[in-house]
């Protein structure tokens, strides 16, 4: 007897006991009886932390793409991490929408420049971006770096360029940012902790 899954449920609904049906050998074929594939079954689960407020809820991030050449991992689902001792699997209306943050149309994809006086962005390469930015930095630093103040005291500071750092970036990014920025002599340096 070859019963389709839908048919199998119809038979059950008609009042017959499902278990006795199976016992009598009237089970549907295995493939047809299987429930719909769980869509996360073939994803990679990665532990992450919500980037919004500092409750810092644990996240489970599910992505497709197995790391093979020519595949690119893409996040398809995010939920609260039930093991996390603070949020215990829950997320708020902000955290629950994180998938749309990752795929926001406002995500920047390429280095761009807006030239002085113009009204549009122009795509440039990373090499060009680094070369032009560091040229501007060096010229400004060389011209305006203060080695000694009016009293002849060594102060070694550069005040004509400033830097605002990101308090949603990892500590490792913060650490290397501080190392690089302070090393140039910058003092106009802050992050969102000031707000």
């Amino acid at each position: 007897m070859n019963v389709s899954r839908r048919g199998f449920f119809k038979v059950c609904a008609a009042g017959m006991s499902g278990s006795s049906l199976v016992a009598m050998g009237f089970a549907p074929t295995a493939a047809l009886a299987e429930v719909r594939q769980f869509k996360l079954a073939h994803t990679t689960e990665t532990r992450n932390t919500c980037p919004y407020c500092s409750v810092s809820c644990g996240l489970l991030v599910y992505s497709v793409g197995d790391g093979a050449k020519n595949t690119k991992a893409k996040v398809i689902h995010i939920e609260g991490d039930p093991d996390h001792p603070v949020n215990r699997g829950t997320l708020c209306p902000k955290g629950a929408g994180l998938l749309d943050f990752i795929s926001s149309p406002a995500r920047l994809k390429y280095p761009e420049v807006r030239e002085a006086g113009t009204n549009e962005w122009k795509r440039i390469s990373w090499d060009e971006a680094y070369a032009r930015i560091t040229r501007l930095m060096k010229d400004d630093r060389d011209a305006n770096f203060i080695e000694k103040n009016a009293d002849g005291v060594t102060v070694n500071r550069w005040l004509s360029t400033g830097f605002l750092a990101a308090s949603a970036s990892p500590s490792e990014a913060g650490y290397i940012t501080h190392k690089v920025v302070r090393n140039l002599g910058m003092l106009a340096f802050d992050n969102q902790a000031r707000v």
Partner: protein
């Protein structure tokens, strides 16, 4: 936070004031609900608005925005006059018995040492203790001396009577007293209150002093250092704690160390000033180890180039002429003193006050570099968006670079939550297009600059050429390498000082904690308070054992908390002076006859017997907690009520001194003076806030959140709506001296008119989330309205309290 999110469940009373956890920190707020459910805790909310936190509170009281010091000063007065303080705690663990300099005085709104021309206290020499011949602070254990801190405190706050509080705050007197009763119910050793606050306390011209007043209430009640207690700052960004710890501020170095000022020319004196000797016998004064932390940092930055001979590159550190905080920097930019500016994941055009001034300032830059996952308003400050950003594009000669960065899901690393937990996360996907992590961008900028300086020479190239750069892929240092660097390592075999035959750590090994740091250049550590996060045993931040063996929510093996994996700061104060827990149900650490131990890592010298009398506040040279802040706060040792810089009542009912209406030490730039409004022109008190569906200026770019809260609105009470003929849903214009926004009016019962100093004060609520870009309906930047003035200590802008007018359009 002194405590942790899950520790909130141990509280008997929760006071939410200056924050709105239910909407801004919803998943953390669940621990308040746990406390109510498990502990029969009472939730008390004091806020200008009846928020969703208030909606589930046991008691709610309204308050006029910016008057929290008056309210809390009144609470202090209530606790002292009704004898609702934890006597043994305050006597042993605070400065109650310390005698204060005879010259210290407070008169008609001002402390001694004020210079009216400079609008600053330039002589704080009287804000000190009396010292004995032995150099120690003189105390009076009887606390009868009129110069002891207890007596001065009592006198200062005796002026904050319930009727005075009610007159300033607009809180009806009976409601104020009801809140006092809830708070006072935790004065015994068997009941504890926690305080939860956020930007509703920080974003004022006297924000730091508001927070101090809250901490003083907690000290009086013996609620600091205990389970379910503490002062708990609900911080705003996922790693704002981390970036603060790592010192990315104008005047800081990692681990709350500070940069030298330009008068500090001598290395030895620089260290000595930051390593204070104990002010009382047998106290620890942990900052005496400052040089160990500092030298280890310099070894992490400059490697072999940092030597004892060159004072560990002391001259290479920039010396401060003054703090270059963001308000100062935008003032300088406005005056044409800056050429370049970088915004890494920061949207200052939306986040900082007085947008029109910021627009002018940014247009004076030669170059602006944006590093962000999203297209921010700041990155398009030059583009005309009609009324929302009305600029003349062609005249703006700034070259703007916009570099795409990864977001959380596309990078690995650690984030530090409000409770000081360093939690590791892993990359789950590739970034879009050519976006790169900030670590790679910063590495590449450094390497490009180094190459230019090698090739061309230039001004003072030494630090650039010598910056230690040991990363395996120099252009993209990995998060793992950087985390290991800020944890710290041994540079030579470290010999145990107690036993020279024993090696503590071999050269190259990761350190176990900051106790192993040395001042002789034999250790490197990029952030001393993080020492222990990545030891020889591996990445402690990645730990995922959520076991809670004591059932108190401390989960010691989940991630890693600074310092030393300690979950509750000042936890020595959870035990009485003899080392016995005040409350056996809430025991945390205690003296077992030989050493300190317990549920948490003791915040104390592990073998210091109680008889020695070491105080629990080991970072302070006094060994105890301070009510009297000495010379450390810009506007005085005791918090005093001052009106917001823009006040709806025009006077300060606490004095009749025209110099002390608003914070007499607040920094106001001359050019901004005409940009402050008065109540004659702008009669309503405005405050800004977040909605539960949005996060700052990010989620207007997120489809689902833009759908949930699509359009800009402002909230007004029914009384004001009636007066101005505004109906729910009408379009209104809200204006301040600095500009205007237009939005939909939401007429609500949640904001009510208050009776203040004999007049009716209406308040206007302004959610902040809109801007001229994004998926949500385009709107005005709310900070267009806010004033360009900050807290006198932190220079955090006064975005929570200013004057507006409102008209139907």
């Amino acid at each position: 936070m002194t405590n942790t999110w899950s520790d909130i469940k141990n509280a008997d009373v929760v006071l939410i004031m200056g924050g709105n956890a239910a909407e801004a920190h919803p998943c953390g707020f669940k621990w308040v609900i746990e406390a109510k459910k498990l502990n029969k805790a009472k939730l008390v909310v004091v806020d200008p608005r009846f928020t969703r936190s208030a909606a589930v509170a046991d008691y709610y009281a309204p308050i006029r925005t910016g008057t929290d010091i008056a309210f809390l000063g009144g609470v202090i007065n209530y606790l002292l006059t009704n004898d609702k303080i934890q006597h043994e705690y305050v006597k042993a663990y605070t400065d109650f018995t310390f005698l204060v300099d005879e010259r210290f005085a407070f008169e008609n709104g001002l402390y001694s040492g004020y210079n009216a021309d400079k609008r600053a206290y330039d002589d704080r020499s009287s804000w000190q203790y009396q010292r004995g011949e032995d150099g120690y602070v003189v105390t009076d254990p009887t606390m009868q001396d009129p110069r002891c801190v207890y007596q001065l405190l009592k006198k200062h706050y005796s002026r904050y009577t319930p009727d005075v509080v009610s007159n300033i705050c607009g809180t009806p007197e009976d409601q104020f007293l009801k809140v006092c009763e809830y708070i006072a119910s935790t004065s015994g050793t068997d009941r504890v209150m926690t305080i939860m606050y956020a930007l509703g306390w920080t974003q004022h011209s006297q924000g730091s002093q508001i927070i101090r007043t809250g901490a003083m209430v907690q000290l009086l009640l013996g609620n600091i250092g205990v389970k379910g207690g503490g002062m708990n700052a609900l911080r705003g960004h996922s790693n704002i704690q981390g970036l603060t710890d790592l010192g990315l501020m104008t005047n800081l170095l990692p681990g709350y160390m500070t940069l030298p000022g330009e008068r500090e020319t001598d290395y030895g004196a620089y260290i000595a000033r930051r390593a204070p000797k104990p002010m009382r016998p047998n106290q620890m004064s942990y900052w005496q180890n400052y040089e160990k932390f500092h030298v280890s940092l310099m070894k992490s930055w400059y490697g072999k180039a940092a030597t004892a001979e060159n004072n560990w590159c002391f001259d290479w550190l920039p010396k401060l002429d003054k703090p270059h905080d963001i308000l100062q920097v935008f003032e300088d930019m406005y005056n044409g003193k800056l050429n370049g500016y970088f915004c890494q994941g920061f949207n200052p055009l939306a986040a900082f006050p007085n947008k029109s001034k910021l627009n002018v300032a940014l247009a004076k830059l030669k170059y602006l570099v944006i590093m962000d996952p999203l297209a921010t308003e700041t990155s398009e400050f030059w583009k005309n968006y009609g009324d929302l950003n009305n600029v003349d594009t062609a005249s703006i000669q700034t070259t703007v670079f916009r570099l795409p960065t990864t977001c959380f899901a596309e990078e690995s690393g650690s984030l530090v939550n409000s409770a000081r937990w360093l939690q590791w996360h892993w990359k789950g996907a590739e970034p879009p297009g050519e976006a790169k992590p900030d670590t790679e961008i910063m590495g590449s900028l450094h390497l490009h600059l180094r190459e230019l300086y090698e090739k061309e020479g230039g001004t003072f190239p030494d630090p650039i050429l010598n910056l230690d750069w040991p990363y395996k892929r120099p252009h993209e240092p990995s998060s793992e390498e950087l985390a290991m660097e800020f944890n710290g390592k041994a540079l030579v075999d470290l010999v145990d000082p107690a036993d020279p035959t024993k090696i503590i750590r071999k050269a190259g090994e990761q350190l176990d904690g900051f106790a192993q740091l040395r001042a002789d250049g034999s250790t490197a550590c990029g952030c001393w308070i993080y020492a222990g996060c990545w030891t020889q045993a591996g990445n402690q931040m990645a730990r995922r054992d959520n076991a809670d063996p004591y059932g108190d929510g401390q989960t010691q093996k989940w991630a890693w908390a600074w310092p030393a994996n300690r979950r509750i700061l000042y936890n020595r104060a959870s035990a009485d002076p003899s080392g016995k827990p005040w409350d056996s149900r809430r025991r945390l650490v205690w003296w077992n006859g030989k050493q300190w131990g317990g549920d948490d890592v003791p915040d104390f010298a592990p073998a210091s017997a109680p008889e020695v009398g070491m105080g629990p506040f080991i970072m302070n040279p006094e060994g105890i907690a301070r009510f009297f802040a000495r010379d450390m706060m810009a506007e005085g040792p005791f918090p005093e009520h001052y009106e917001p810089t823009e006040t709806p009542i025009g006077v300060n009912p606490m004095n009749d001194n025209p110099a002390a209406v608003y914070n007499p030490a607040a920094r106001i730039f001359k050019g901004d003076l005409p940009n402050f409004g008065t109540s004659a022109e702008f009669p309503y008190a405005a405050t800004t806030y977040r909605l539960t569906e949005h996060f700052h200026y990010w989620t207007k770019h997120v489809n689902i959140n833009a759908v949930l809260q699509p359009e800009q609105f402002v909230e007004i009470g029914e009384g004001l709506a009636h007066e101005k003929g505004i109906a729910n849903g009408d379009r209104v214009q809200v204006s301040s001296k600095r500009g205007y926004i237009r939005a939909v009016a939401l007429v609500t019962k949640r904001i009510r008119a208050l009776k203040v100093n004999g007049q009716t004060v209406h308040q206007v609520g302004i959610p902040i989330h809109w801007g001229f870009m994004g998926q949500a309906k385009a709107g005005y930047i709310a900070n267009t309205l806010a004033p360009f003035v900050g807290d006198a200590n932190t220079q955090t802008p006064e975005s929570k309290s200013f004057l507006v007018n409102i008209e139907k359009v």
